[in-house]
């Protein structure tokens, strides 16, 4: 397959395949949640029904909303996740694909969903949404730093390369999380992923019972469907990112595929278990958690990795 064909395939995978797979993963989330609560849970097509139903409803906006930003914000989030997914699929299918610095590009585009929610909520014209946006901004300020710091051990272990393909190839002699520093960084990135997904204990921005939906309170119909799909895509992309950087890379051939599926399920189940057992933190508790616990652990992990790489 030539270069252009490869990139078209991967873009389709990123923008069309990821939503579909993401909705299936979201169903897995709801199923595990249900089983933890000793009940049966929704049928497998539930998430698709949710999206179709939302597409059929009318879109409403408050009079005080700033319409262009309000309606384009979900599109921005979707594009962000789509690009990150495209790059990750590219490295998964052909490990030597990718370009210099694409790790940074992926991290950059993964900020877009939270940014889109903040923009959309601020443009909603509702005090609940404004409060949700303020909380989301504080949360992003909390988790972005440890998220970026915890990628450093992986970079160091792969010999200072910023390419995703370099990281994957370097893990052929052992995933990053098998090292002490790497494992600590893996834990930090899991905490950051939980916050990026906006799930309990870090769902202060959407706080259902407190803020009536917070950032998404004014969304309805197709824009809400797009946000729903964006969140489902994140549920697929973020574990893929974690596996690519820390756990040996996403492999799509033979036994590697089964192993990757198992790793992926383990990550998703851990996220869901934490979601179902922890209460929601207050925003100041969440920020303290990220600044005073996760960031120092990430710094220690970087130091250990530095010692391991150069010491």
């Amino acid at each position: 397959m030539n270069q252009l064909g490869f990139w078209i395939l991967v873009t389709l995978l990123g923008f069309v395949g990821t939503p579909i797979l993401g909705l299936v993963v979201k169903w897995v989330d709801r199923l595990v949640t249900a089983r933890i609560q000793w009940r049966k849970g929704p049928p497998f097509y539930q998430t698709f029904a949710d999206v179709l139903k939302l597409l059929g409803k009318e879109t409403m906006a408050s009079e005080q909303a700033s319409l262009p930003v309000f309606l384009l914000a979900p599109v921005l989030g979707y594009i962000g996740v789509g690009v990150a997914a495209t790059l990750l699929w590219a490295v998964a299918i052909r490990p030597e694909a990718g370009f210099a610095g694409d790790l940074i590009v992926v991290i950059y585009f993964l900020v877009f969903p939270s940014l889109a929610l903040i923009l959309g909520a601020s443009a909603s014209g509702s005090p609940h949404a404004g409060l949700g946006a303020a909380r989301e901004m504080k949360l992003v300020a909390g988790y972005e730093l440890p998220f970026i710091l915890s990628v450093v051990p992986a970079i160091l272990a792969a010999g200072n390369t910023f390419n995703l393909s370099g990281l994957v190839l370097a893990q052929s002699k052992g995933p990053v999380l098998w090292g002490v520093g790497g494992f600590m960084a893996f834990l930090c990135v899991l905490a950051a992923v939980q916050a990026k997904l906006g799930v309990v204990p870090f769902d202060q921005a959407e706080a259902e019972t407190e803020l009536m939906g917070g950032v998404i309170v004014e969304y309805s119909g197709p824009p809400l469907a797009l946000i729903y799909v964006m969140r489902a895509m994140l549920l697929l992309v973020l574990p893929m990112f974690v596996i690519t950087v820390f756990w040996g890379g996403v492999q799509l051939a033979g036994w590697g595929l089964a192993l990757t599926a198992v790793k992926f399920l383990v990550l998703v189940v851990v996220i869901v278990l934490v979601r179902n057992t922890c209460p929601r933190l207050r925003i100041d508790q969440a920020m303290k958690f990220f600044w005073l616990m996760v960031t120092p652990v990430a710094i220690v992990a970087c130091s250990l990795a530095l010692v391991g790489a150069y010491g």
């Binding site: 849970g41 097509y45 029904a49 139903k53 059929g56 409803k57």
Partner: protein, 147 residues
């Protein structure tokens, strides 16, 4: 009906998100609605989720007689719910006013209040004082089948 419309209707039938509105109830029906959403009855099998905002809702679960104070507010909430939506009058008070029909603060049973805003509103009546969650599930299933 085009294929896309059929798909959207299928989605609506399989995924009704509910928003609970109390327009002056004694809370008995509200407790039963709360019980409906607990793991024991597992309405998530039908796709029912509690929506945090009326903008996300497909069904409004209205309890209580509509008091004078609540009347304009219920109408505003109905306007804020994107159509197509269903209004479920839960309990004898929401259906007809119940024992408070002659009360000084009664401002019309819920269906009249909603029909004032939208004469074509889809309204479901679930009588009882309070109706059992099983009755509510049965009503929901029948409504979805008829949509």
């Amino acid at each position: 009906m085009s294929v896309l419309d059929k798909l959207k209707l299928w989605g609506l039938k399989k995924s009704p998100w509910v928003y609970h509105v109390n327009t002056g109830a004694c809370n008995n029906c509200d407790i039963e609605v709360l019980e409906l959403l607990t793991p024991r009855f597992d309405v998530e099998r039908l796709g029912v989720l509690l929506a945090p905002s009326p903008r996300h809702a497909d069904a409004l679960l209205v309890t209580g007689i509509c008091t004078r104070q609540a009347r304009p507010r219920l109408q505003e909430i109905y306007r804020q719910t994107p159509k197509p939506c269903v209004v479920a009058c839960i309990g004898a008070c929401a259906c007809t006013g119940g024992i408070f029909h002659e009360a000084w603060h009664f401002a019309g049973p819920v269906d009249e209040v909603v029909r004032e805003v939208d004469p074509n509103a889809i309204i479901v009546y679930i009588p009882g004082c309070p109706p059992k969650p099983e009755a509510m599930i049965s009503a929901l299933a029948q409504t979805l089948a008829k949509l």
